[in-house]
Symmetry: C2
Subunit: 219 residues, 2 copies
């Protein structure tokens, strides 16, 4: 039996300890029990080996935990503190160059909790608005062709030559990135460790990096 | 004359030293010269008083610096490393509760470098797609009624009762937050230290916090 009176929801960033904020590390140090998705728990354990750990089977990782905690705590006597971290849109973007320096949307392709037609609508509107996009959960075993479907929706409004990029294992061992066109992205074999970036009409390649300018040089 | 061979573009987060990543602090420690917008330079100076500082008159803050640096360095012999930080969408969101736990868009209302009709189009599409929004640069002296205009666009697709929130001085002295309706937001006197959050159709108030659920409890 666990008596909770203070619950921290901690964004740990992409994984490497030095990409966590000082505030996040201090909160983890204060905890008696640390609970999380297996992959994330394994990242934290070496830093704080003496804690009690609970591994949960949650599929969705950080994309949604804070909201869930507020919902579950409704009417309960527990203080909640959300400690933000560097989300994959930002950490992956920094690996690729500077793809999200202007307006952007973050969209998950997981239809586990969202109807696919709502995801399609969001992709369509974001493309129509010429928003850069960070795509989370681009694929899983069960959803092998979702990224292709997403690209086909974006292609209704964007050129096949639109600059895109993928980052795998952000901030972790085996980190890699690749810049490609939207047409090539449709055939890219993404997996659950991939974060995908779709540029807007201004996005270009500079020195091998994916860069979305804001127009400063034209002012 | 400054001879550059390595340039770090560092996201310092909202301001408090403990909201910076360890990696960001280490990069700043390695620098001979630290350049930035006045407000941000003043936040870093007390932490590293012995550095040389350059204050630049850039209006747009972090929203766009990395892209600019890549553009200006094109063809020059300089290594660039972008170090991501906790952007206001995440740090402000954590103060309000959990408004961005699902798909969202980040949109700036500054028309200094973006035509206003493009900003309107993005607001319209994001609202149509039922995306939560983080609004950067909601107002300035010159753009006193932009937030009202933005709310009127969103109101074409969203209920006046949509849950919204504002955070001022995130992570800094005088931090404050307020949860309100979209109708109330249209009249809110935002300033340049305010980050604005507009919920989607699911966003609700739990214990005074702004929370967007992902539907876990219905699974």
């Amino acid at each position: 039996m666990l008596a909770l009176n203070k619950l921290y929801v901690v964004g740990i960033g992409p994984g490497a300890a030095d990409q966590m904020t000082v505030r996040a590390m201090r909160a983890l140090e204060k905890c008696d029990v640390i609970a999380g998705y297996g992959v994330y728990v394994e990242l934290v354990k070496p830093l704080l080996p003496d804690k009690e750990y609970l591994v949960t089977p949650m599929h969705a990782g950080v994309y949604g935990m804070a909201g869930l905690i507020y919902e579950l705590s409704e009417g309960k006597d527990v203080e909640i503190e959300v400690i933000p971290g560097v989300t994959a849109a930002l950490s992956g973007g920094a690996v690729l160059g500077a793809p999200l320096t202007h307006d952007f949307a973050v969209i998950s392709l997981s239809d586990l909790l969202t109807p696919w037609d709502k995801i399609e609508k969001r992709l369509e509107c974001a493309a129509e608005a010429d928003l850069c996009m960070a795509i989370y959960n681009p694929a899983s075993h069960r959803r092998a062709d979702y990224l292709r479907q997403a690209c086909q929706i974006v292609l209704r409004h964007a050129s096949p030559e639109t600059v895109c990029g993928v980052v795998r294992n952000i901030g972790r061992e085996g980190e890699s990135m690749q810049v490609m066109t939207l047409k090539e992205l449709a055939d890219y074999p993404a997996d659950m460790f991939t974060t995908v970036f779709i540029g807007n009409r201004q996005t270009k390649i500079i020195g091998g990096r994916m860069v979305t300018p804001r127009g400063y040089r034209d002012v």
